[in-house]
Symmetry: C2
Subunit: 235 residues, 2 copies
DNA sequence: CGTCATTTTGAGGTATTTCAACGAAGGTGG
DNA sequence: CCACCTTCGTTGAAATACCTCAAAATGACG
């Protein structure tokens, strides 16, 4: 493992109330433990990382770039389960097999952790495991939130909620106007369970109403925060 | 704590492959640890258990009956996040506050575990914590599966997936014809993000097509397994 | 600068939502 | 045990919003 690599971190809110900062982060020792059993890999955009149902040998920690996990449905449609950014963990498995497929969206830097080795480590290091437990609970909240988003009927509303959730995910409580959108419109459609055309019309609608401007197709600039939040809350 | 109570168990599939049985269960020592810090409570149907945003003091383990967790949306609509059956854990929190509200559906028996005490216990008992980690990962899968269900457009398909998921949840791989439905039609509607009328028409449709018969409103009997699974897979 | 993938725009079909009213079920008190 | 009331569930008809199919336009990349 090259020591010049950026160390792995895990972004998550705790489920317990804490007096100090709201984020749970790994300390130096825990990072060293992870690094000690991991491989740091750098991969180009679009690189497939694993396929659903294949043996789950590794857990991944994203340190740079964007990743998507998804499921191909019997009809040929595809549903994106999550977008993963730096500090996110992925490699969701059940009975030793991956539940989703995963693919790099941009160029990414990942820590690849052998799952069985990690499991042993976690059993012996309660503090480290607690960090992963917090992250898993965090993932439950995110998945539930996504279910709420997808349950909406109107495309502009779904898109509004998506943009806000994305910003919250990437920047926490500091909420800049410009939201990077590394994924394609098709990716957004597959995440929101809309057709590509519906996403396109929804972006156009938000732009026409002066709520968001999509300068670059990969950057959304929030022009009217209050109307955006009102639209997101209109569910 | 009365010693005659049924002990707490946690139903979950592991994320690692295991040679033995597919379920992760607490051993006797772990159950005793949990019991030692818990209160066993028996509550009548419809009893509210906690409200979203209120301080999260307890984690709950369901040992008998059915519970729902839900979120009330700004519009007045309600989305049910999950139905909880014996062996399920609930009390999802973020920064010390519950994310959802919870209410008993039937008469229930619960173990009520103080969250801070539990967190200390978990930090010191890696094996016990590992069981909870497995359960949390299990919850992530369930929430993702629900997002897939809700993302469908057609009501009969959503209902078909719901029935199959419910059976899988309650009975694992032994799949009896009769699926108990302790929740009301409104609950199903709020879970599937459909209108009550749409659920009613969907049940009628499944019944008319001879796929499922709803003898009692609280029991669904699968008449044609292959057509049910084909409908569920038609996404 | 040409080619290919991605995105946008247009028109019609179909499903659910909504609104309204009816019917059934369950619980409570006399 | 029955009447009443409230909640829950069913049915019907019109409106809305997305999906699908098709084609044009834009952007990315070699």
């Amino acid at each position: 493992l090259s020591s010049g690599d950026r160390p792995p971190t895990i972004r998550t809110n705790p489920f317990l109330a804490v007096t100090a900062g709201a984020e749970v982060r790994l300390n130096d020792r825990q990072r060293q433990e992870i690094i000690g059993i991991s491989t740091c890999v750098r991969l180009p955009a679009r690189m497939p990382l694993y396929r659903a149902q294949s043996p789950a040998k590794w857990l991944f920690i994203n340190v740079e770039g964007a990743v998507k996990t998804f499921r191909d449905l019997p009809s040929g449609k595809r549903r994106i389960a999550a977008f993963l950014f730096p500090g996110d963990v992925f490699g969701l498995a059940e009975n030793g097999r991956y539940v989703n497929s995963a693919q790099a969206i941009t160029r990414v830097t990942l820590y690849r952790v052998p799952l069985d080795t990690l499991a042993d480590l976690l059993r012996h290091d309660g503090e480290l495991q607690f960090a992963f437990l917090c992250k898993a609970v965090h993932e439950v909240r995110e998945a539930q939130q996504r279910a709420v988003i997808v349950s909406r009927r109107d495309a502009p509303g779904r898109l509004a909620m998506f943009l806000r959730a994305l910003r919250q995910n990437m920047f926490g409580d500091s909420q800049p106007d410009a939201i990077p959108l590394p994924m394609s419109r098709s990716d957004i459609a597959e995440f929101l369970a809309l057709s590509l055309e519906a996403v396109s019309r929804a972006t156009g609608e938000l732009e026409r109403r002066g709520i968001v401007s999509f300068e670059d197709r990969h950057v959304a600039r929030v022009l009217d925060e209050s109307r955006l939040s009102r639209l997101a809350a209109a569910l």
